[in-house]
Every structure is written in C-alpha cells, then in structure tokens.
C-alpha cells in the first residue's frame, strides 16, 4: 500500500485537530475534578458518543472485521445480544447507584458499598489492565503501520503516544472525550464508503448470499450444537456466557466506559447515556463486521483478496480491513481510511489512559497515600499519572514486541479477573445482605475458578495446563464457558460468606442498594427523555435484527 501526499495531508490535518482540541480545552481545566471528571458537565450527545467510541478501539475495528470473516454474522451477538441488553441494564438499573452515590469511579462505588479492600483489589487490577491494554493498542498500531505501510515501528509508537499524551495532558478527560466523538465520526464515515464500495462490487446483499457460506449468514440457526456454527459455541454458553456474564461484566462494571456516563450533567443524562449509545451500537455491525463478510464474497468472485497467512498457515484475519482499504480505496479516501484506523488505536489508548489516571489518583493515591490534598494537588497528580500511564504504555508496547507469549499470558490472567466481576456488582446492588468480606472473597474465588477451568479444559491447543478433562470445540466457546462458571463461583461464594459475616447497617446503604433507595418518580412526560422507553425501543429494534438474520 503506497500513500501519496494527499493521504499524508489528511493524516496531518487529523493530528492538528486532535492536538488543537487539547489546546482549546486547556484553559477550562484548572482542578483535579476538571482534569479527571470533566467537572461532570459534559452534554448528553457527547457522553453518549464517547461511551461507544471509548470501546471503538483497534480491537473492535480490526478485531470485529476479523471475526466477521472467521465467524460470520454470529459475531453480531457481541452487539445484538451482549451490548444492547447490558447497556440498557446499566442505564435503567445501575446508573442511579453509580451517579447517585456521587462515587467518582467504579472502584469508589465498591468502597462505599463494601469496603476498602474490595475497592483496592478492583482499582489495582483495573489500573494494571488499562495501561497494559493501552500498550497493546500502541503495539498493534505500530505493527500494522510497519506491515501495511512500511513505517518505522519506533516512529509510529512515539508519534502516536506523543499525540495522545499532548491532548490528554492539556485538556484531561474532556479532551479525550471530545476527541473520541471526532474519532467516532471519522471511523464511521471513513469506513462506511468501504462497505458501500465492497457491497457494490459483490452485487449487494444478493451477491453476499450467493458467494458466502450460508452457515456464516445467521445469528441463531446453528447454535443448537457447537459443531453447527463457525464460532464453535452452543446457545447456552452464547446466551449466558457472552450475553449475560461477559457483556454485562464489561458494559456495566468497566470504568473505561462507565466513566463516560458518570461525567454527565445530571442523573437523567447519565441514565440515558448508555441507552442512547446503544442505538448507534446496534448499527455498528454494518461498519465493523460486514467488511469481514464482504471480503469472503470478494474472495469467491475475484482474485487478489486473499489474506496473508500466519506462521501456522491459518489466514491472518486481522488483515481484513487493511486488505480492503488497499484494494478498494484510491489515494485520497485511502488517507481517510488509514486515519480512521489510527483514530481507533488512539481512541482506545486515550480511553485507557484517562481511566487509569482517574483510578490511580482517586482510588490508589488519595485513598492510600495522601488523603486530604487540595484540588490543585490532585490535578498535578492526575497529570503525573498521565505521564506515567503513557510511558508504561510505551514500555508495554516494546515488551509485547519482544515477548508475545508474556502478553498472551497477561491477557489471559486479566480475563480471569474480569469474568466474575458482574456477580459482585449485581449482588451488591440488589441484595443488601451482601458484605464486604463476601464480595472480596467471592471475587477471589471467581478469579481462581476461571483459572482452574482454563487449566482443566482445552480448546484449539490452549489451556489444560493442569489436566485435560474436557475439550471445547473452539477457543471462543472455552472463553464463554469459563465466564459463566467463574460467575457462578463468585455468586455462590459471595452469598455464603455474606451469610456468615456482618452486613452494613441499612442507613449506610441508602443510595447504594436497590431496596433501600427511594424510587425516582419520573417527572418527565416526554417519552424520549425516559430511559425505560428508550430502552424498550432499542430492545424492539434489536429483536427485529435478530429475527431478520435468524
């Protein structure tokens, strides 16, 4: 792929704009609250788009196109089964506790609801995970640019990291969020013409149906058995493992996305943020999954669309989008497409760094090192955490380049920590008898069970490092099953320990637990301002998509 002056010009203009947004916002950021929480003053439309854009990193854009080619439309379950329901649940049921409790972060809610050790466990694992993810994002960007465009690996890392650093350091979370909105539109408008051109070339949806294996064009049809669908999963692990445990665990408890709703102007906006975000989210498969299916049809009809292979001979599905950009985009719009990819990496990195600096400052530094500092003090600590977060990300990117196995291992360990998390929050919010000890030991038990399940099962040659008592049909199926098993373990242990330990007094739990929080009387008569009605609309549309592509 060869870029021309026009393409470089477009990339350069993008860099100028993202840094410019940081400069423009600099004068508005004066305190720790401004820098880390945007002073809870961001309009609804911005929080909503930032909510999905924070998740629209490289993993989403490149990864979902790859999954589209590998698993077909079954990939849409990440949106139409997982994300949609979880985002509605977050808005309707959980946001009143996050926002209403005045917690500044998800770990801080755990402190208010349970105790300091549960918060610290969550804050530490989250902080390490976010800088690690940020580094992986940086590494993936530099690798892609090196392979596709022949750019220097070191230069890509330092340029991307410097740009992200400048706009976060200057404008804090507000700058990251504003840039996420620009990045959202750039990604959607930069990739949409590719989908249009690709569809046109294969002869529209008819062409897809004629040229792609029917097994990849359904979302439910082959789920009766793992052998009947390309994803290798069954309906139970899909619905319970992905749709409930993993999706709710991510969308309802991951501070990276929840933070975007927590900086809304008021509770009503905070509740509507994830639900309004769910509307573009359920349409995203057209942008991120469809390219993977289009390339299958193109491969069937034309030559030159083959994917490069990995060392083991399997197709490298992560190259779906770069290959389509190379083959379908002429110079000019190619610059926009490449900029959209760069934007997705930077969006992912910035989201992680801003979540990291908030959790570090409020949940680790303020909670354990300096409790009563001034607003200005925490402002500087937040800025120092941004510098540290970026530097650790760069370091992680280099480690990833040299020791890929270590990164795989770390990613696996983090997935064990994440899997049971929703059980803790669910019980904490809806069962007032849940205690801090129950939550803490439940989390540890869930994490341990996830590791144990991985050690006792095998899929695609992975796992089984203790013994092989069961073999899953695919790695995806193994991940979904690990998720629900660890959820159950966390759920049961939390209940058992809670029953034998002392709960907090009811008056301490007002605003933190469902049964002890006065129900809001919705004064809004207008349906589009009511989170419940908005949620119902999203559900109906999602249901229609599931029926159409059954």
């Amino acid at each position: 792929m060869k870029l021309e002056l026009i393409d470089y010009l477009i990339i350069g203009i993008y860099f100028i704009f993202v840094i410019g947004i940081g400069f423009l916002l600099k004068r508005k950021v004066k305190t720790g609250n401004d820098f880390l929480m945007s002073n809870r003053n961001i309009p609804l439309w911005i929080t909503s788009l930032a909510f999905i854009s924070a998740n629209l990193g490289a993993q989403e854009v490149l990864g979902m196109a790859a999954n589209g080619a590998k698993y077909g439309l079954y990939t849409a379950h990440f949106y139409w089964l997982g994300a949609a329901l979880a985002m509605i649940f977050l808005g309707v049921f959980m946001m009143p506790f996050y926002y209403g409790s005045k917690a500044r972060s998800v770990p801080e809610y755990l402190k208010l609801r349970f105790d300091e050790k549960t918060r610290t466990f969550n804050a530490l694992t989250f902080a390490v995970m976010t800088v690690f993810s940020s580094g992986v994002s940086l590494y993936a960007l530099a690798m892609l640019m090196e392979v596709v465009l022949g750019w220097n690996f070191d230069l890509s890392i330092w340029v991307a990291a410097t740009v992200v650093f400048i706009y976060i350091f200057l404008g804090g979370l507000t700058s990251a969020v504003y840039n996420e909105v620009l990045q959202f539109f750039l990604i959607v408008l930069g990739i949409a013409p590719l989908v249009f051109i690709g569809l046109d070339k294969v002869g529209g949806w008819e062409g897809i149906v004629q040229n792609v294996d029917d097994a990849k064009l359904h979302v439910w049809k082959g789920l009766d058995s793992p052998t009947n669908n390309p994803m290798g999963v069954d309906a139970f692990s899909m619905v319970f493992g992905l749709g409930f445990v993993l999706a709710f665990g991510y969308w309802c408890t991951d501070f990276l996305v929840v933070q975007r709703a927590m900086i809304s102007k008021n509770l009503s906006d905070a509740q509507r943020t994830p639900i309004i975000a769910a509307i573009p989210k359920i349409l995203m498969p057209a942008i991120v999954i469809l390219p993977g299916i289009i390339i299958l049809a193109l491969q069937s009809k034309f030559t030159g669309f083959d994917l490069p292979t990995n060392p083991n001979g399997d197709p490298n599905y992560n190259m779906v989008l770069p290959i389509l950009l190379q083959k379908l985009y002429p110079n000019g719009i190619l610059g926009v497409g490449i900029t959209a990819l760069i934007a997705s990496f930077m969006s992912g990195m910035a989201g992680n760094v801003t979540a990291f600096n908030t959790v570090w400052t409020f949940d680790i530094y303020q909670s354990h090192i300096k409790k009563n500092g001034s607003e200005k003090h925490y402002y500087y600590i937040g800025k120092a955490a941004t510098v540290a977060g970026i530097l650790i990300s760069i370091m992680t990117a280099y480690v990833a380049r040299g020791f890929n196995n270590i990164m795989d291992l770390l990613q696996l360990v983090f997935s064990f920590v994440n899997a049971p998390l929703f059980a803790t929050f669910f019980l904490g919010m809806f069962w007032k008898r849940t205690t801090g000890h129950g939550a803490f030991w439940g989390l540890l038990a869930g994490t341990g069970t996830a590791a144990l399940t991985h050690g006792l099962t095998v899929a695609e040659g992975k796992g089984g490092w203790i013994a092989n008592i069961h073999e899953y049909y695919s790695g995806t199926g193994q991940a979904f099953n690990i998720a629900w098993i660890s959820f159950i373990a966390c759920f049961v242990v939390t209940i058992l320990i809670s029953l034998v330990t002392q709960p907090k007094a009811d008056e301490e739990l007002v605003g933190l637990v469902y049964s002890l929080t006065p129900k809001q009387k919705d004064s809004s008569k207008v349906w589009y301002k009511n989170p419940l009605w908005l949620g119902v609309i999203v559900l109906v549309v999602t249901l229609v998509f599931n029926i159409i592509f059954f």
């Binding site: 026009i6 916002l25 620009l182 051109i197």
Partner: protein, 65 residues
C-alpha cells in the same frame, strides 16, 4: 473564539476541510475515472456532513436565544 469550543463546529470544520480536499483532488489527480468518482462522492459526503454539523450548532444557538 467561542464557537471553537463548540464540538459540532470543530467536527464540521474538520470534515469540511477533508471533504473539500477530496473534491479538489478528484479534479486535479490523473487517476482513473472510477478513482476520481470515489473521491468526489466521498468528498461530497463529508462536506454534507460538515454542513449538517454547522446547522446543528446554529440550531442550538437559536434555541438558546
């Protein structure tokens, strides 16, 4: 200066610049007809989106008045 703080204006400005660049490039480059058309239509799409952003910003301003 104030309108630079309005994100709709900033996003609109970005896409207007990119859109105009693509439209200009489609006329000036010596690429094939198909490649010129792709850039032209994408440029028009981005410019239209930019105008939509400007209109939304203006509407919001009028509502505030």
């Amino acid at each position: 200066m104030n309108k630079l703080f309005d994100l709709r204006f900033v996003i609109g400005l970005f896409f207007l610049i990119i859109g105009l660049l693509l439209i200009g490039y489609s006329f000036l480059s010596d690429a094939t007809e198909y490649k010129k058309e792709v850039n032209l239509y994408c440029g028009l799409l981005f410019s239209s989106f930019a105008l939509l952003m400007f209109m939304l910003k203006q509407k919001n301003k009028d509502d505030e008045v």
